[in-house]
């Protein structure tokens, strides 16, 4: 395990593109939440800044962070894809690395990147939370932090799907295009062709629903009207969704499925 981590580190530590994507993700995320925090919506009875208070800040930030998961997915495609196109994977196998070990190394990279994402959300969430929250009882600070784990799962899902695409297509350009198309066109079209009750069960739908749009009506109203009719679903703004436990279980199943297909592709194909 230590050997594989050190191996991955040797490959990426001086790779410029890798650093650029990480810095880009981090700065775009920080800029986005900063800009959002400055938005001034003055509707009587609704306070925008509630979205940045403990404990709601966790859900808001996890949701914003989820926009950048595609970048992490593309990063994984590129890093793994370089090893296909430069045939360094082939050389590594000839040098004594098993295909399973190679895949395990990529798994560790994915986990490390997901941890990076969680750290990004946690630290910025803490900072904004402290700034915007008047009542700083510890119970409030750590409430809802479970969403960080869910975000971790989501980022992992995006990246594992990226790994699946590059193992299938073996070309960076094609994999990135297919990956993005799958998210923005292919799956939505397929969903549209399916009956309504099946639509919530598609992988991208499930994985992106892990960090749902915050219930901003409810939150900004300060929970004053603790009524279910203020949920986005209840008001008909969002379609009916699966509950969070079901979504998490389904996402786990999909991630394991993607990982298994990737394993078979890496194991079986010529290098």
């Amino acid at each position: 395990m230590k050997r594989l981590l050190a191996l991955e580190w040797s490959k990426i530590s001086s790779y410029g593109f890798f650093r650029v994507i990480l810095i880009l993700t981090l700065s775009l995320f920080l800029l986005t939440v900063f800009v959002f925090s400055r938005v001034d919506i003055s509707v009587p009875g609704f306070t925008w800044r509630n979205l940045f208070r403990f404990p709601d800040v966790w859900k808001s930030f996890a949701w914003v962070a989820s926009w950048f998961n595609l970048l992490l997915g593309i990063l994984v495609i590129t890093v793994a894809g370089n090893e296909y196109s430069g045939r360094t994977l082939r050389q590594q196998v000839m040098t004594g690395l098993s295909r399973e070990e190679w895949l395990a190394g990529k798994g560790m990279l994915i986990i490390a990147l997901a941890i990076f994402g969680v750290a990004m959300v946690s630290l910025s969430g803490l900072i904004f939370g402290f700034i915007y929250t008047g009542d700083l009882s510890t119970g409030m600070i750590f409430k809802n932090t479970g969403i960080l784990l869910v975000y971790f799962l989501q980022a992992t899902g995006y990246m594992v799907l990226g790994l699946l695409f590059i193992s299938l297509f073996r070309s960076n350009a094609l994999s990135i295009i297919m990956y993005l198309l799958y998210f923005i066109m292919i799956e939505p079209i397929l969903r549209g062709l399916c009956p309504a009750e099946a639509r919530s069960w598609f992988p991208v739908k499930i994985i992106s629903h892990l960090t749902p749009l915050p219930e901003f009506v409810q939150v900004t109203s300060g929970d004053a009207m603790s009524a279910n009719q203020l949920t986005l679903e209840g008001m008909g703004i969002m379609p009916r969704q699966l509950d969070s436990t079901t979504t998490i279980i389904a996402a786990l199943v999909y991630i394991m499925l993607f990982a298994s297909i990737t394993y078979l592709l890496v194991k079986r194909k010529d290098l």
Partner: protein
């Protein structure tokens, strides 16, 4: 036995890249895989290095079923040097050293050995083709593996580079390493290898010791008053291994210990005049071309 393959076959669509290839390489041998481009050398090596899956057949390394970790004992260079473009030479070798679990101190040693130490911090994509090839050789030598599998090791090198690479390979051979080398250059195989298998279009044409298979026989050319009678006489007497009449002259390969003067005397005894008698050295290239025709 270091490597044994039995009936390895692999097709790409209608093209049989390797057809029933069986080889065996003994410990300490320098084994050549000779053949023109597209004869199946790289496919065969790719299969035994576990990066290509054979359609049928099997192989064993070190008398064991192949398993990934076993390749740590084998230094390899197949086709072109494959390295991370954006990493320095040292970093690239670090990747190899981590896989092979060898001492990082080895890296500078092999870089020095291949004359690349000065460039250790350069990015791989700034190297010339010849230097890339040398780095590949350095990487194959990293960790002092007991077997070297080299595919066209002199590819892209200038004459000086070829000589250096050959020197390194011969050095490794002298250290008791087993060398498995594919090449389309006969001279390379002849200078390095003790055993050879000749491939053509995926098929094995010939296999054996280099000095038996690719022996550079002297051809004696004779023109006499009666070529037919002389040829017949020489063959009956057992003075020649082979003889044929080509372009009005006898081309013969003499039996061992038979010199031109013996042939001259024999003709005199038979009363046949010798008009011309000379030795022509047939080149290995000619024999190779003859074999793969």
């Amino acid at each position: 036995m270091i490597l044994e393959t039995s009936n390895l076959s692999k097709s790409y669509g209608p093209i049989k890249a390797a057809d029933n290839i069986s080889l065996s390489v003994e410990k300490g041998a320098a084994f050549g895989l000779l053949g023109p481009n597209g004869s199946g050398k790289t496919t065969t090596l790719g299969i035994v290095m576990s990066v290509l899956r054979p359609d049928s057949g099997s192989f064993r390394w070190f008398d064991r079923e192949p398993e990934p970790a076993l390749y740590k004992r084998i230094g390899s260079l197949i086709e072109v040097p494959n390295f991370f473009n954006y990493l320095s030479l040292r970093r690239n070798l670090e990747v190899i050293a981590r896989i092979r679990e060898t001492d990082m101190g080895e890296i500078d040693r092999v870089l020095d050995h291949t004359g690349l130490l000065k460039r250790a911090s350069s990015r791989f994509d700034t190297l010339s083709l010849g230097m890339k090839q040398r780095l590949a050789l350095a990487s194959a030598l990293l960790g002092n593996p007991e077997v070297l599998v080299l595919d066209e090791p002199a590819n892209g090198l200038d004459p000086e580079g070829i000589a250096e690479v050959r020197k390194i390979i011969i050095e490794q051979k002298a250290l008791g390493k087993t060398i498995i080398m594919a090449s389309h250059i006969l001279d390379e195989v002849e200078k390095v290898c003790s055993h050879v298998t000749i491939l053509k279009k995926g098929n094995t044409l010939a296999s054996g010791k280099v000095d038996e298979l690719l022996v550079s026989d002297q051809v004696i050319v004779v023109d006499s008053g009666d070529n037919e009678a002389l040829k017949k006489g020489l063959m009956e007497k057992g003075l020649v291994k082979s003889a044929e009449i080509k372009g009005g002259m006898i081309e013969l390969v003499a039996a061992s210990g038979v010199s031109t003067s013996i042939i001259n005397r024999f003709a005199g005894e038979k009363g046949i005049n010798i008009n011309q008698l000379f030795i022509r050295k047939s080149t290995l290239e000619e024999q190779f071309l003859e074999l793969v025709k």
